[in-house]
C-alpha cells in the first residue's frame, strides 16, 4: 500500500460513485445482516449450552 502513495493514480468521479454505491448498497448491508445473524446464532448457542431457553 505505502508505495501506492506517490503514484498519482487517476480515480475519476465515476469510480468514486461506484465505490460509494458498492459500499452503501452491497457491502455494509451484507455485513450488517451477517453480524446480526452471527449475534442470533451466538445467543442460540448460548441458550443451547449455557442459559437454557429464554426466560422472562
Amino acid at each position: 500500500m505505502s508505495d501506492n502513495h506517490n503514484e498519482p493514480e487517476v480515480h475519476n468521479k465515476a469510480s468514486e460513485w461506484k465505490t460509494f454505491l458498492v459500499l452503501t448498497v452491497c457491502l455494509f448491508p451484507a455485513l450488517s445482516v451477517a453480524l446480526i445473524g452471527a449475534y442470533g446464532f451466538g445467543i442460540w448457542f448460548l441458550q443451547m449450552f449455557l442459559m437454557g431457553p429464554p426466560g422472562h
Partner: protein, 393 residues
C-alpha cells in the same frame, strides 16, 4: 479479481476527490435508514403466519390442526397466529429464534420431515422444545393475550374455576396444564381427558359427621351452608373432618398449619412442611370467625413462625373418600407411567418433602397432567419423600 479488490480498497481508503463530504454523510445516513427499514420489514414478513405455512411441513400438519381449535375461531373474533405463540418479543431472543429457523429451512430443503409420518415421528421432540420454552418463560406468549388478573373466574365452570384460581395463585405457566391447546398431542401422550371421572370414581358417599375423609381433587370452600360466598380452595388428597351434613352442603374442619407472616392464606398439612392443603381468601384468612388458633412454633431452618389452626368451612357434598390409599395408588401409577419419559425418574424418597415441589415443577414441562392430578401426584411424592420413608436414602 484481486486487482479489482485492490483498486476498490485504494479508492475507498482515500478521501474522496469528487464527492463532497456532505453528500457522503447524507448518503450513508439515508442508506442506513433505508437498510434498517428494509431489515425490519423483512423481519416482519418472516413473522407472519403466511410465511410460517410457506413450508408444506407446517401447512399440512400443525396449521390444519390449529383450525380445529378455539384460537382459530371463537366468539371474541380474535385469531392467534403462529408467531403470537411461538416467537419471543424481546429483540435478541427473536433474532436467535430466526437463526434457529435455519434448522427448519435445512429440514425443508433436505425433506427430513416431508411426510405426515415423518412429522408425527418427530412431533414428540418438537413439542418438547416448545414445552421447555414455555416453562422457562412461564408461558409469556399466552400471557401476552391472556391474563390471570383479567379473568372472570365466576363465569367459568367450577372445575375450571378451582384449577385456574390455584394456577393464578402461583402465577403458574399455562402450558403446564394446557398442553395440546393448538395442535394434536404427540402420539404416545395421553390426552389427560377422563382423569376427572377417574378421580370422582374414587369418591365415596354418605359421609358421617365426626369421621375424617380425604378430598379426591381440588374443591372450592365456602363460608356458610348457602355456598354463595367463596372462602378458599381445598387441595387434592387433603384430610378433612366432616362436622355436619346439610343436604348438598357439608361442614368440614381442617387441621392445618400456616405461616403467620403475610396474610396466612396458604394452608399446610404439617409444621414446617410445604405440603399444600389449599388456600383461604384474604377475608377468611384474616377473620377469626372461621378458625381456632392453636400453638405457634418457629421453624429453625427459615426462622419463620408457623401457627396451628382449625378451620371450619363448608364444601359441596361429594368428592371425598375414606382412605388415601386408592388416591396414592392412582398417583403412583400416574407418576410411574407419565414421568417415565424423564431420563432419570427419581424415586419418591430421593428428595425430602420441601424439595419435591421444585423438582416436580421442573418435570411438569415433560408431562401432560391436569391440575388435579398434578396436585395429587405432588402430594403423593411429598408424603412418600425421604422425610416419611423408612429406608434411608
Amino acid at each position: 479479481m484481486i486487482q479489482i479488490i485492490k483498486r476498490f480498497w485504494h479508492i475507498a481508503s482515500k478521501p474522496s476527490v469528487h464527492l463532497s463530504f456532505g453528500f457522503l454523510t447524507i448518503g450513508g445516513f439515508l442508506a442506513g435508514i433505508i437498510f434498517w427499514g428494509g431489515f425490519n420489514t423483512a423481519l416482519e414478513v418472516t413473522n407472519t403466519e403466511k410465511f410460517c405455512i410457506g413450508c408444506h411441513e407446517m401447512a399440512d400438519n400443525v396449521y390444519v390442526e390449529l383450525q380445529e381449535t378455539v384460537h382459530w375461531q371463537n366468539r371474541s373474533g380474535v385469531r392467534a397466529t403462529c408467531p403470537d405463540c411461538h416467537v419471543p418479543h424481546n429483540w435478541s431472543d427473536k433474532i436467535a429464534r430466526k437463526m434457529q429457523a435455519s434448522k427448519e429451512v435445512w429440514a425443508t430443503v433436505f425433506g427430513t420431515v416431508n411426510t405426515r409420518e415423518k412429522f408425527l415421528a418427530k412431533r414428540g421432540e418438537l413439542a418438547q422444545h416448545e414445552w421447555d420454552r414455555f416453562s422457562a418463560n412461564n408461558s409469556m406468549e399466552c400471557k401476552n393475550c391472556h391474563n390471570y388478573e383479567s379473568m372472570d373466574f365466576e363465569i367459568m365452570s367450577e372445575r375450571a374455576q378451582v384449577q385456574m384460581k390455584m394456577a393464578a395463585e402461583r402465577d403458574q405457566s399455562c402450558v403446564d396444564c394446557h398442553k395440546g391447546i393448538a395442535h394434536n398431542l404427540p402420539d404416545n401422550m395421553n390426552s389427560g381427558e377422563g382423569t376427572l371421572s377417574k378421580l370422582e370414581e374414587m369418591a365415596t358417599s354418605g359421609y358421617k359427621a365426626g369421621n375424617s375423609y380425604y378430598s379426591v381433587r381440588q374443591l372450592p370452600l365456602f363460608t356458610d351452608e348457602t355456598m354463595t360466598t367463596e372462602a378458599g380452595q381445598l387441595n387434592a388428597a387433603t384430610k378433612v373432618t366432616v362436622l355436619a351434613v346439610e343436604g348438598d352442603a357439608i361442614q368440614v374442619e381442617l387441621d392445618v398449619w400456616r405461616k403467620t407472616k403475610g396474610f396466612g392464606r396458604v394452608m399446610f398439612e404439617d409444621f414446617a412442611m410445604n405440603i399444600n392443603d389449599g388456600y383461604l381468601t384474604k377475608e377468611v384468612a384474616q377473620s377469626d370467625d372461621y378458625m381456632n388458633k392453636g400453638e405457634t412454633k418457629i421453624d429453625d431452618l427459615t426462622g419463620l413462625p408457623w401457627q396451628k389452626v382449625e378451620v371450619k368451612l363448608w364444601a359441596r357434598n361429594g368428592s371425598l373418600t375414606e382412605s388415601r390409599d386408592t388416591l396414592w395408588t392412582f398417583a403412583k401409577s400416574t407418576y410411574d407411567t407419565s414421568c417415565s419419559v424423564c431420563h432419570t425418574q427419581p424415586a419418591e424418597n430421593h428428595f425430602d418433602t420441601n424439595t419435591w415441589p421444585g423438582m416436580f415443577n421442573g418435570m411438569l414441562s415433560f408431562v401432560n397432567l391436569d391440575g388435579d392430578t398434578q396436585a395429587l401426584v405432588l402430594k403423593y411424592l411429598q408424603k412418600h419423600s425421604s422425610d416419611f420413608s423408612d429406608e434411608a436414602h
